[in-house]
Amino acid sequence: MRARQLNHLWLLISLGAILMVSAVRILTGAHGIDSIGTIRAAIIATCPILMAAIGGLWSERAGVVNIGLEGQMILGTWGAAYFTYYYGPWVGVFGAALLGAVGGLLHALATVTFGVDHIVSGVAINIIGLGASRFLAEAYFTDLEGGGIKQLTGLETPTRVTIPGISDGAEYLADKHWFLVSDLASLVGAMTTDLSLFTVLVAALVIASAWILWRSTFGLRLRSCGENPAAAESLGVNVYRYKYAAVVVSGAMAGIGGGFLALVSSSGFTTGQTNGRGFIGLAAMIFGNWRPGGTTAGALLFGYTDSLQLRDSTSVHALLLIVGIGLVALALWRLRQGKTTTAIVMGALGVAFLVWFLTTDSVPKEFAGMTPYIATLLVLALAAQRLRMPAADGLRYRRGQSI
């Protein structure tokens, strides 16, 4: 029952957001804020972060903090490149998962078997992952076609599909710049035009993860290990096994995120190309309060703002208006709830954004790069999170000791 209410709330919020974006688009003429290209780019930017975040979700739901996502992701980029080069992109995806899983296995070994502090192990894995990917690239890619000691480019990319009728129709409608209709058409268009099957795989993995973790026996057991491993153990759950499974899957997911970077976000491997996306994924997961929906929202927020600022700095200016309106709306809502101070702060901020929007024509391009980071901070600061992480997240667990 609670879940259904939540769904309604989300639906309302999403609808409100689309309406507002559409209105702002018409008002400012910044049609780039939700064009087909923008949405497609946002999806592409989101996927690697999302996979890392889902990886984090797996691991932390089983009670293991995985700060090593970045390292596992890096290993994934290498794995994707290596296996794609020799066996094609789908084996490459598998290779990314495999290498990421190896990183996860190392983390599981350290944290579960040896009971090492999770953060220490994660930090070590990040160092090892980066070092190993460079080392492996130097050892295996230097002499390949398109390869060098730091890169392997021109890899085959997973199949892309366009759904003929729908794609064209959506594009036609989106180009009309009508209110609401075009915005929805953009969404449809982005999902039917030149869509990488890897993106579909990512979506499937996210949904499958949510289903497995919350709807299956396996998931229940896994989550119980993150909430109260002693209780799980007392009921015959092999906690170590589930933690191992979770952390290995976590690594694999992060690795697949790395694979996406190497195969879809661009067509090649470059050392260090993850560029902190593993950490962003971690942030997205915390943002999402250790739940798949919120995590996806967090990844999308970041992916959208990041790709928007890279594609089209002028549209970033329109974001100011959106933020301003959003803030004022929130402020009014808070005011109705009787939270005056919060309402005043938000209102003032909102007005500031509106003034900024009205008095300028563009955001200085030097600042555009900060958009995703500031947006994330802003959303978090305003949402006033009541974070609830799994109760036994990050805690050492030793079999037979806490019963």
Partner: protein, 367 residues
Amino acid sequence: MNALRRLGASLLAPVIAVVVAMIITSLVISLSGSSAGDFWSVIFSRPVDRAIVNIVNQTSLIYISALAAAIGFRMNLFNIGVEGQYTLASYAAATLAGAALFPGLLNVVLPLLLAVLVGAIWAGIAGLLKVTRGVSEVISTIMLNAIAITLVGYLLNKYGVHVGNGVRSTVIPESSRLDGWTFFEASDGPVWTLATLALLLGVGFWVLLNKTRFGFDLRATGMSQSAAVASGVNVNKMVVVSMLLSGAIAGLIWMPSFFGAAHSYGTAFQAGLGFTGIAVALLGRNQPVGIIFGAVLFAFLNEQSNRLTLETDISVNVVQITQGTIVLAVVVAYEVVRRYRTKLEQRTVAEELAGQRQPAPSERATT
């Protein structure tokens, strides 16, 4: 006897760790078709005088960075933002010092204070967001890192001095330079004056944590937030204060190098120390003495690895793998040894308790 056993146990962990790390590293090198012997003979050769100076200097930077991270860890705060904090602080201090608004040493002291202030403020934002809005410091410091680095790039481009293809802050006047002490040839370079800052901060850290009320509160909060609250600690205040402190220390990370060698913020700015610091803090178990070893080890490996490409065909990336492996191996070894020692300890407790109980007269067998 017992003490000896314990000492042996505490030395055991690092020794096991180093051996394990060496074995793994050797394996990696051999697998890649190079000679592990070459690698170790380079790494373990006596550093030349210049390298010793560099190791000392680098140790000081890494050490300060690790302290900054450690103070957060001791409070269960994960300040990943050291990187951004010291970047912004270094830029601010360099700009102020470059402006040469003050004479002589004042032009050192005030920029140092500014660095402390800027670092503290940047970290304080994360602290405030955490206590007022419940934003996880892990997220906010990651975001603040990116913002700081972009901001500095922007400011430097806009207000910096453009020389050739580079841009930097104004070079500080001779009178504000603190080059340090030359122990070997002049060309081997000096140990920077402000490297002593690391020492001071380390002692200060130790005293603060172990000898003061404040330190007690901080450690208590880190060990058990609930117990700390019940004991009267204002945890929100502690979160903000320790973030401020962490950021303040972070602000100083690059200062020895700045006043000792770089003299301006530009290509000579050494990025990445914030992340190294986190690893070293964890390696040193967030203890001021432990961190010394970690910092020396990292500085040593980095410096020696410099010679790898010149003298062998082994990739320097191997060193990174070694460093990561050491961190992991050390903590694993510590854990194994800790388990062993807990057993020892419990045995002693039980033995002594048994000793106390034995003579109790009230016990009598009943059937």
